[in-house]
Symmetry: C2
Subunit: 311 residues, 2 copies
């Protein structure tokens, strides 16, 4: 099962451990960890944990881009990255035993030229035909056209590969026009994209032209509005932990379901279990497989609208 | 005037501007600046401002080492860096308009192999004969022998090049045994190296075997114990600003004085003026030339011990 994840705004995620973060002070970092990041990279890590073979596409440049490539290679990932002249962005997260919440600084990232974006599109066109599904994740860096995801979704459809889109703002609205197979907004993205507060109504407003909407509500679970039916799926109980990366784990499970042509109920149960199994892990891109397997039997699935055939 | 600065523990200094640093929050960085750092790099920047031609030696590796080299080249510095397999260290400084003091995280830096250190020594031996003076600055990274600076000082002496040493702890004590021409401890380093609280007594204890001791006391100025006399030199008034890098500016002026075979009074006045001209600049490695020129006439110089001849 080959799944192509596209992350235009790749990052190098650096984590510093310090005894305690004190504004205005100098801290000797006791431990440095760094790895490739960005939403699509997290999706790829979860996909691999779930047994699929991800290929990572995106834009990387400068010494930080070199570090991103090196870490992906060391972790054993195949990449189909496109080089850029700018320096890839970093995120720095400062964690300590004495502070409960991590402190994070995220760089804005480099501007991308239209020629570089054209290179990514060309590389994408070469790779996408071999993929069972394509995942498009995260923000578009400055310089990439607002309809960048729409362009890639169009290419994927022409070559017969299905698409899962997870982004926000103008990139989401422009991407929807190209009719991806699945979009996964969270509550805020759903509201911003539709201007509608009521969840089902909002999801239905997005779910046109054959696009399935799977909206995520954190511990409230998922709402899926599809041509085959409408469902809610939620974890049996709230799980304590780090919600960063739960959405990416959800997207990984959705992509696997699409690739496997699984039923929506089956896919939604796995997506809720994967999200919850990410919450119990400290780092985005990880899921706890024991929690995942255990929750598969316990996820609460409810069909809201039996007017359409499903399964 | 060619001056070789050696910085075994080079760094990439990254500065993030954020609206305000709030522990536990996520911050979008509004501006990223990065440049090569480490004490010897700061010395080289000040030397260039003062009209000398510095060459930067040290150890650099990994993508961060590439970024360090790139920034030095972009800034127009000649480098004689030695590659290492490990990843060079970074420092991250978070500044904001609303916080008065910057918040800093410094990485521990890579371990260096003995073969890599031998490579630095070989490169140093090639370069040092062309130099008018050598400046050895900062800590030794893990893996470098404690007497690493002593080895370099010995090579410099064999080739007839004079040396200025600015380090601390065991590296300072081991380096002193090789009889550098000048050492520049600060108050804490002087006390730690000698176990003596009284400043002149402590400086005299270090100033043996022909090594001149120029101890720095922040706004209290400099104390010099040399074969040619003992002096105190201090700024006419305390200057407000950022003391980071003042010691490096002092070392740059000392190195220039040694290279020019200037008198101690002349050199000390310039060293105090350069230190003060660094304090008024926000970034280590910068000096304000107007402040420097202005202070040259105002530095207070006092001879403490006329028992020896001097000029």
């Amino acid at each position: 099962m080959l799944i192509l994840t596209v992350t235009p705004n790749l990052a190098l995620d650096i984590t510093y451990e310090v005894p305690r973060l004190i504004p205005g002070a100098t801290h000797r970092v006791s431990r440095v960890r760094q790895r490739a990041g960005g939403k699509g990279v997290n999706v790829a890590r979860v996909l691999r944990a779930l047994g699929a073979t991800p290929v990572i596409a995106g834009l990387a440049g400068g010494p930080t881009g070199t570090a991103i490539r090196a870490e992906l290679a060391e972790a054993g990932f195949a990449d189909a990255l496109t080089p850029i002249a700018g320096e890839s962005r970093r995120t720095v997260t400062i964690v300590s035993e004495l502070d409960t919440e991590p402190t994070m600084c995220t760089e804005p990232g480099p501007a991308v030229s239209l020629a570089e974006w054209a290179n990514l599109r060309a590389r994408f066109a070469e790779t996408v035909a071999r993929a069972d599904v394509v995942v498009l994740s995260g923000s578009l860096p400055p310089g990439v056209p607002e309809d960048g995801y729409a362009q890639l979704i169009g290419t994927a459809r022409d070559l017969g590969t299905r698409t899962v889109l997870d982004t926000s703002g103008p990139a989401l609205l422009a991407g929807l026009a190209a009719r991806p197979d699945v979009v996964k907004p969270n509550a805020a993205e759903l509201r911003a994209a539709t201007g509608i507060d009521e969840e089902i109504e909002a999801a239905r407003a997005l779910a046109r032209n054959g696009t399935a909407v799977v909206a995520s509500f954190g511990p409230g679970g998922l709402l899926a509005v599809t041509d085959l039916g409408t469902w809610r799926a939620r974890p049996p109980r709230p799980l304590a932990g780090n919600p960063t990366g739960a959405g990416d784990a959800c997207v990984a499970a959705l992509a696997l379901g699409v690739a496997n042509r699984a039923s929506w109920p089956n896919t939604l149960v796995k997506a809720v279990a994967a999200s919850a199994a990410a919450v119990v892990c400290p780092v985005a891109g990880q899921i706890d497989l024991a929690t995942y397997e255990h929750l598969l039997a316990d996820v609460v699935l409810e069909e809201l609208d039996a007017a359409h055939p499903h399964r």
